[in-house]
């Protein structure tokens, strides 16, 4: 065969060449940025002066001396812990239920549920729904029905704005992982369901648990990666809805804190240390969830 006659180095050259064009961009715009964040997080780099090595000073300052960082860390974790699992679960349930409907209506339902995550900045319509004054859709409806006496400041009152952001993030949570679930469900091995019915599977709940989920592990895993990637990156939505900064930093997140110190104040070293903490949390979450989802397939 021709393949075996070729010198092995040449064969590798072709593989590396094909990979290489993309890999250059991958290294330069994904790997190196992650790497330099780690390096400059140990310096006082500010883009103007020569950076000095400062050890763990940035991290110490973040944790002990920066109340807004602690607040935004707490908010980021809270947003992720709530919107991540809930969004993931809703995405799966909706994908599963869509798969239970007729063939004709499935494409329509898929577009409907996917549309908030692709329709760009359409989520700003929520600022109209939750608007603080009595003209806001929710306020005026509730006032009109006599439920409220005066308008609620949904977006600026710290009692409410955190929940408003959660509602909007959940509304946008049917993203790429949702598509992976839809596709995974449609490509399941149909004959397994028939033999399972003979073996005594009695309802869809048992079908889901014993047949569907074990086959869906690959899709569930990629869904988990994508969900982690978006749920820790919350920032644009609270900034657009509740202002940046929000009242008493009530919806401030790590992404916004990093932007504030990095892009605005140019304290790159300090901002990078906040980014590195975010990276560590995301990677740790992925390792835990990876283990958990894989155990689903082992029963």
């Amino acid at each position: 065969m021709k393949k075996t006659k070729r010198p092995s180095l040449l064969k590798y050259t072709e593989s590396y060449l094909m990979l290489g064009f993309w890999f250059v961009f991958f290294v330069f715009f994904t790997l190196i940025p992650i790497g330099i964040s780690v390096v400059i997080s140990f310096t006082d780099y500010n883009m103007l002066q020569t950076p000095h090595f400062v050890g763990f000073n940035n991290y110490i300052r973040l944790l002990l001396d920066d109340e807004i960082f602690v607040k935004s860390l707490a908010n980021t974790l809270l947003f992720a812990v709530i919107t991540g699992p809930v969004g993931y679960l809703i995405s799966f349930i909706i994908a599963w239920f869509i798969n239970e409907t007729g063939r004709g209506i499935r494409p329509f339902l898929t577009v409907l549920f996917y549309s908030p995550s692709i329709a760009g900045s359409i989520y700003v319509v929520w600022t109209y729904i939750f608007s603080d004054d009595s003209y806001g859709l929710l306020n005026s409806t509730l006032l009109n029905m006599g439920i409220l006496k005066k308008p609620i400041q949904w977006l600026t009152d710290t009692n409410y704005n955190f929940y408003v952001v959660i509602v909007v993030i959940l509304w946008m949570s049917m993203g790429t992982s949702f598509l992976a679930f839809i596709a995974g469900l449609q490509s399941l091995n149909k004959s397994l369901f028939e033999s399972a019915a003979i073996d005594g599977i009695r309802n869809r709940w048992q079908e889901l648990w014993y047949i569907t989920l074990p086959q869906m592990v690959p899709q569930l895993l990629i869904g988990a990666v994508l969900t982690i990637s978006t749920s820790f990156a919350v920032g644009a939505v609270p900034a657009a809805l509740t202002g940046n900064p929000s009242t008493d930093y009530s919806t401030h997140t790590l992404i916004l804190h990093i932007e504030d110190y990095g892009n605005t104040r140019l304290e790159m070293g300090y901002a990078s240390s906040a980014a590195v903490i975010l990276f560590i949390i995301m990677v740790a979450t992925w390792f835990v969830i990876n283990k958990g989802v894989r155990s689903l397939g082992k029963d």
Binding site: K11, W22, F25, F29, F97, T141, N144, A197
Partner: protein, 282 residues
């Protein structure tokens, strides 16, 4: 006889329909509102109590976009060109680079392959928002800030597309590739003549997902020159001007949402076919 629906109770069906109905209304309502707001005259936008339908639909909001823009320093066409150019250029280049890289990752054996596989999955975790700051730093040091490169290049470094196509090519039969090699095809020949045309659903999907993501990009942190700004940024500038621009803002966001929606609707069956292979196996 073989039943079409196994294990399907009426009660369960009602739960399914009810859940989809409630969640569907919750999903559709804000979209419905932003669409009708685009066609409301200003007098209807801030009515008390609010109306859930339009009484006198109008195209004035759309006309106002043009009127507003004629006073601006940068013509409307420039923002449209920027967004279309950036979205299309990113999509075309990324789809090509990602497919070319995915082929050896799926079908060749070379030192370092397993490591790169792991790296790719790992890198999906880091979205562009998370790496924005160090990317900004890199681009400022290389003079890329405030150019089209700042909008296009970071998107080319994404690993999700490569992962998606790699999984799809992985399911492509090896003997077809082997036959082409015996016929004397080089690896580039195999890729361009056999693999690339055969995995059309994969690159159509990747093209759609890349296009949608970059169509919605704002680029506010890397672009400062007005004539290089993107359409969504222009929209934010209109919206920021206050409530009397609400109708115009709704009209702009209505126009902006059409290209991603239409492209997804047209390609949905190919997207679903591709995403079936998107799982993480080992």
């Amino acid at each position: 006889m073989k039943q079409n629906k196994l294990n399907r109770s009426t009660g369960g069906n009602i739960v399914v329909i009810l859940f989809l109905l409630i969640m569907g209304l919750f999903t559709a309502f804000p979209i419905y509102f932003s669409i009708i707001n685009a066609f409301k005259p200003l007098s209807e936008l801030y009515l008390f109590p609010p109306r859930f339908v339009v009484y006198n639909p109008t195209f004035n909001n759309f006309k106002d976009i043009i009127a507003l823009q004629s006073q601006a320093t940068v013509p409307m066409e420039r923002y449209i060109f920027n967004t279309v150019f950036v979205a299309v250029a990113t999509t075309v280049i990324y789809v090509f680079l990602a497919c070319l890289a995915a082929y050896p990752l799926a079908k060749h054996n070379f030192p370092g392959k397993e490591f790169i596989h792991k790296l790719i999955v790992f890198a999906i975790l880091f979205s562009t928002q998370v790496t924005a700051l160090p990317q900004y730093l890199l681009m400022s040091k290389t003079g890329m800030l405030d150019t089209y490169c700042a909008l296009i290049f970071p998107a080319l470094g994404s690993s999700f597309g490569v992962f998606l196509v790699m999984q799809f090519i992985g399911a492509f039969p090896d003997d077809v590739i082997e036959a082409a090699r015996i016929d004397g095809c080089s690896e580039f020949g195999v890729f361009f003549k056999i693999v690339f045309p055969s995995v059309k659903p994969a690159w159509v999907t990747l093209a759609i997902l890349t296009f949608i993501a970059n169509w919605n990009a704002t680029g506010t942190q890397v672009i400062f020159t007005e004539s290089l700004k993107l359409l969504p940024t222009m929209m934010n500038q209109i919206t920021a001007a206050g409530i009397d621009r609400a109708g115009v803002a709704a009209a702009v966001s209505f126009i902006l949402m059409i290209p991603p929606m239409v492209s997804f609707i047209l390609s949905q069956s190919q997207v679903v076919e591709t995403m079936a292979y998107s799982g993480i196996k080992e």
